[in-house]
Symmetry: C2
Subunit: 447 residues, 2 copies
């Protein structure tokens, strides 16, 4: 303010007779601004000027987050009545979150695409002897994906609501995570038995600008078939906003928290065409809310089926070798894809790879983004009886090693046999180039 | 360049008679530069101008890392002979890593304090029925610490070297991690059974400017007692530099990779005063290298004993309740410490807390940074027979819940009873303020 005043004061001194050279000098000054600012690679942009968050940018990149800056100004955290638990409404959340971001500009920059992945499992050991081992490796898989893309991940083993220590646990956790993580625009829930099988695919956030909850699903199966499997709550993400807070509370009203739980259980059984077991589960309840309150909630819920946010494992496991070949072909044809690089920039070839696969496989033989081991129940071990013997566990072992190969590649190793994860071998330089393939198959020597 | 020319050309037009107003205008221009640049909070700094890495800074903060920028210029990754495995020397690593950073300026900024935590466990399920459950929660604990401080973490379940699928596995993993993560200055190994028990303590990196390997240890026990437990390799970090690459190879020459393994096994048994079991383990081998090649390696190895980089669990578990009281007292006396805040800025009160504890507990009753469950062998279950019954498992349960309470606090919850992790309760606002304490003990009502 005082600077602006000083500037005006200076200006007033300028006499009419020197106006010509003055205007020239002003032109010089504009050049100076341009030259000096471009020296710092931070030419002021209109966006910077109107920044409502106070966040600055460098090179179009946001600044690194500043974890040590927490100003003394009051935020929503200082409101005694504001809770992390379901059932107690938070008012003006969007405004409160925005003002927190304003006080923490380094987090405001880039906030609109910031994702927190939340997942978890029961507090006690699994009944299934290999259950916890599978959960450990499923967590490793999610931690790998998070690290590669720079997302934060939180694994919860505590039961936040005594009445929701079941499939509903995620709803209580998402509610708490939204309050604890105002820096995150999206809270992405992943079931413990959901596995990233394409470590380099990124969710197209720009597609969801008008939506607050993104869940894998099919509109016709929801609204026509009224099927409880018309969508899948094993992997979905919700925007950190007032709408979501309100929706979580409405959703949780059908959970065991509700005095009307029995009523909802019966209602779901009678409303949904194919729900075979009693109890109001969180997935059936979401389908029901879409069916009965579409006007109120449906417009903001995106049913995603253009990529696999939760592919059914039975259809995936048999194709893992095929997927490996597809990726090897891509690597043979595009040197850029087989070039070795640091894991932190492995994301850089994601789009090139996606385009190549689109043009050369038409989606055929393209690995799914996420594979969900629905019905396997790795922790209890009580899998769907239709999955005979060790089908589930063998499938999980193969899928986890398949995914791990995408991570190990950047560490210089590979599981030669994805059915046994124990041993890995060093990856040859420039693998899988044609030359190498010929060498391996002996062609070089047969000539 | 052409801009500069244009500028000179303009300047030449300015006539002598208008020099006064010209200089005023130049003054105006300087103000303009200042005003506009400060609007974008990026007043050009000398540091920006001379930046050798090409990285710009914003407000003194480095820019956020750019994961999509991997220029086509050749790096060490393009050298066919460069491997991720032990035994094959990499030459000029410091130069190679520096030039990679130069090509990736957003990673160069802040590189000197960047830490990658590496840990892992065996590829197959544990023999101990609750082994994998404990490993899962030990990993969760490390993932929590990494998220809170913005460190990357990699959990490995593959055996990178068939001869090092044992205590030596870490050496092969660190070697690969150094090559795969040129963005990281420090690779921090953590045994699977090491648990962060102070989630807010940060390692004082500035203390290690002259060192390349930091390991918990005591010089007198190394050089006088020649004890195999004079240091602990359960938690140590090594600088991503040529020295470390060379040292890892020398270290691994005493491992089962070496044809002289038997010789080293016998040599360690005869050299170290208290080594009871045969086999050259990685910890005894490090002690031996300090004893025999101090001149060559010792100067760069920092034996840290000013804080607990690997506290022996037996001395810790009995004090957990005392530690909880100490922290509660700190919270009662310092409103800043009990103020609710976003997890991402929970680091901000770390120093204040450290100072308070120093002045008020003189280190007494201060929780250790890391607690190591040496001898418990959670995965095999074959713990030291001197630990009767479930001592180890109960101790791990309590310690993991104690640590989890520091994480859950920022999620609005608390384990009231750390001996049973299953249930948690919402944390009262402003806990643990005096008023609340009185209310809880009923004093308010007795008046």
């Amino acid at each position: 303010m005082s600077r602006a005043k000083a500037q005006t004061k200076q200006s007033s001194y300028i006499s009419r007779d020197s106006s010509r050279s003055y205007f020239l000098a002003v032109f010089v000054s504009m050049l100076l601004v341009f030259v000096i600012c471009s020296l710092t690679e931070t030419l002021p942009s209109f966006q910077n000027m109107i920044s409502t968050t106070g966040a600055d940018t460098c090179n179009g990149e946001p600044p690194a987050v500043n974890r040590t800056h927490d100003p003394k100004e009051a935020t929503f955290y200082d409101e005694p009545e504001l809770t992390y638990t379901l059932g107690k409404t938070i008012e003006d959340w969007d405004k409160k979150r925005k003002s927190w971001l304003h006080l923490h500009p380094s987090f405001a920059a880039g906030a609109d695409t910031r994702i927190l992945i939340v997942t978890g499992s029961q507090p006690s050991p699994c009944k299934n002897p290999i259950g916890d081992h599978l959960l450990l490796r499923c967590f490793k898989n999610k931690a790998d994906y998070s690290r590669i893309h720079g997302y934060d991940i939180f694994y919860n083993t505590a039961c936040l609501d005594p009445k929701l220590c079941n499939v509903w646990a995620k709803v209580a956790l998402i509610r708490a995570a939204m309050v604890a993580h105002p820096e995150a625009e999206w809270i992405w829930w992943m079931d413990s038995d959901a596995v990233f099988t394409d470590m380099y695919f990124k969710v197209p956030l720009q597609r969801y600008k008008q939506h607050n909850l993104v869940v894998p699903g099919w509109p016709d199966m929801v609204y026509e078939k009224k099927s409880w499997v018309s969508l899948n709550t094993g992997s979905f993400f919700t925007r950190n906003c007032q709408w979501s807070l309100d929706f979580l509370d409405v959703w949780a009203r059908m959970s065991p928290r509700s005095p009307d739980y029995k009523f909802w259980s019966e209602t779901l059984m009678s409303t949904l065409s194919d729900k075979m077991f009693p109890g109001a589960d969180e997935q059936s309840s979401l389908v029901y809310l879409l069916l009965t309150e579409k006007k109120k909630w449906g417009d903001k819920i995106y049913l995603e089926n253009q990529y696999d946010l939760s592919a059914y494992w039975v259809g995936v496991v048999g194709k893992l070798i095929k997927f490996t070949r597809t990726e090897a072909d891509a690597g043979k044809n595009l040197p850029l894809l087989r070039r070795r690089r640091a894991e932190v920039v492995s994301e850089s070839v994601g789009e090139v790879r996606e385009k190549y696969l689109e043009n050369n496989t038409a989606g055929e033989g393209k690995r799914p983004f996420i594979t969900h081991f629905t019905g396997c129940q790795p922790c209890s071990g009580n899998h769907d009886p239709s999955y005979v013997g060790n089908t589930c566990w063998d499938a999980m072992e193969r899928t986890l090693n398949y995914a791990d190969n995408q991570v190990l590649r950047n560490l210089g190793f590979v599981h030669r046999d994805i059915s046994h994860g124990s041993y890995v071998s060093p990856l040859a330089f420039d693998f899988p180039s044609e030359v190498l393939q010929r060498k391996k198959s002996g062609e070089e020597y047969n000539r």
